[in-house]
Amino acid sequence: MGAGHGHRLFFHGHGPIHRAPAHVKVLALLGFMLVVVATPRQAYGVFAVEALVLLAVIVVSRVPLRYLLPRMVIELPFAVFAVLMPFISHGPRTDVLGVSVSEPGLVAGIALLVKGSIGVLAALTLASTTEPQDLLRGLQRLRMPELVVQIMGFMIRYLDVVTAELGRMMTALRSRGCDPRSPRHWPVLARSLGALFIRSYERGERVHLAMLSRGYDGKLPQLEKTS
């Protein structure tokens, strides 16, 4: 593990956005999204400018859009809600393509979809251009409490280990005819999760002892820039 491997959304590259310090990127994302969220819902010109700014950043980052766009499906549940909004809202009705919908609902639904999509695309841009280790260093520079940074570091480091362990458990269950999605097999699934918790916790204990034996005193020295 460690630096260089990236994570699932990371897109290997050497563009200026990749090289920018992580704390600047996090602050830029936060500031940008606060502006987007605070934009009045019918200021479509402002939305267009914000989308163009984001697209410009993506072009500069040299992460291809065909890499980012399929990964936007994560917002699908709320997109469904946004699409439903014109139908479930009240207020004056208006006709769109021959269907009677609520006018304020339509406005709110569009605004929700636009803001949510800009948010997901902006977050994907951060995730695809930032290595986890750089992100941790960035959060440290932003004065995130040391303990939170450390817990996050351990989570990122062991994410693939634990999810791969879960994946192997699920493969083993399925190969024995168990369907983890079916409520009928929940007892089996739950025992697996219980075992996963015990294994994760015990791994945490072993990691802690291993770190103690290497001089751990509550601080992680390798989070400082080492390159």
């Binding site: 303990l147 994410l159 699934l189 015990i198 916790y201």
Partner: protein, 229 residues
């Protein structure tokens, strides 16, 4: 199923961000009593476990699926303060590295999923632990009841936030009813899985279940003389 950017207006998002930051700060102090110097590695692995458990979807009907929130589960297994930290970190990682949940909605998500579900789940659990017989077998049902209560309460609180800072002219009573009904169904799934997971850990390693510690402490070591046959 995390709240994205733009769902709540900016003042509400900032306000929940302040609430979340304050609660995490309190949890940072208190978690040291639950885990002492071993906090970081163990809480990190518990956070990873919560993340992995959230990956498992279960059907809730009408072709849709819900997934475990894990607030009550983490609270019973690792202790409430550690659970708040773990869920906050899980949500932080999901927002920053996985684009799941908006960065401006991070405070809302931490408040709802990280704090409310843990607080409600733990409160119900402790209450039941006090009322129910002091036996290890009662830990899992109490945890399940905590999980059952935690999900609809979080959903109702979300509706409340939506009433204050929502960007939609939707009939609030209808939203509240729909959210409450829907999340009660999800809460049943959450309760069953939480109860079963806790039961399996209690059966094998009761010493790891934070919520079972007072019951283990009450158990006395019994020695019996072996009668030679």
């Amino acid at each position: 199923m995390h709240v994205p950017d733009g769902f709540l207006d900016a003042p509400t998002s900032v306000a929940t961000g302040v609430v979340a930051a304050a609660a995490v700060a309190v949890a940072l102090r208190a978690a040291r009593h639950e885990l002492d110097d071993r906090t970081a590695p163990r809480a990190g692995l518990v956070a990873t476990f919560v993340f992995a458990a959230q990956m498992i979807n279960f059907p809730v009907g009408a072709g849709t699926s819900g997934h475990l929130m894990g607030g009550a589960l983490a609270a019973v297994l690792a202790g409430p303060w550690t659970a708040v930290l773990c869920l906050a970190v899980v949500l932080l990682v999901q927002a920053l590295l996985m684009a799941d949940g908006g960065i401006t909605a991070l405070g809302t998500n931490i408040t709802l999923i990280g704090i409310v579900t843990v607080a409600v789940g733990w409160a119900v659990f402790v209450l039941l632990r006090r009322v129910l017989p002091k036996r290890l077998e009662m830990v899992a049902p109490a945890a399940a009841a905590g999980a059952l209560a935690s999900v609809p309460v979080a959903a109702l609180l979300f509706t409340g936030l939506f009433a204050i800072g929502g960007n939609a002219p939707v009939d609030l009573a209808a939203v509240a009813t729909a959210m409450f009904g829907w999340h009660t169904v999800i809460g049943i799934g959450e309760a069953v899985i939480t109860g079963l997971v806790v039961a399996s850990v209690v059966a094998t390693r009761p010493d790891l279940v934070h919520g079972a510690r007072p019951l283990i402490a009450e158990r006395e070591l019994v020695t019996r003389k072996v009668v030679p046959s």
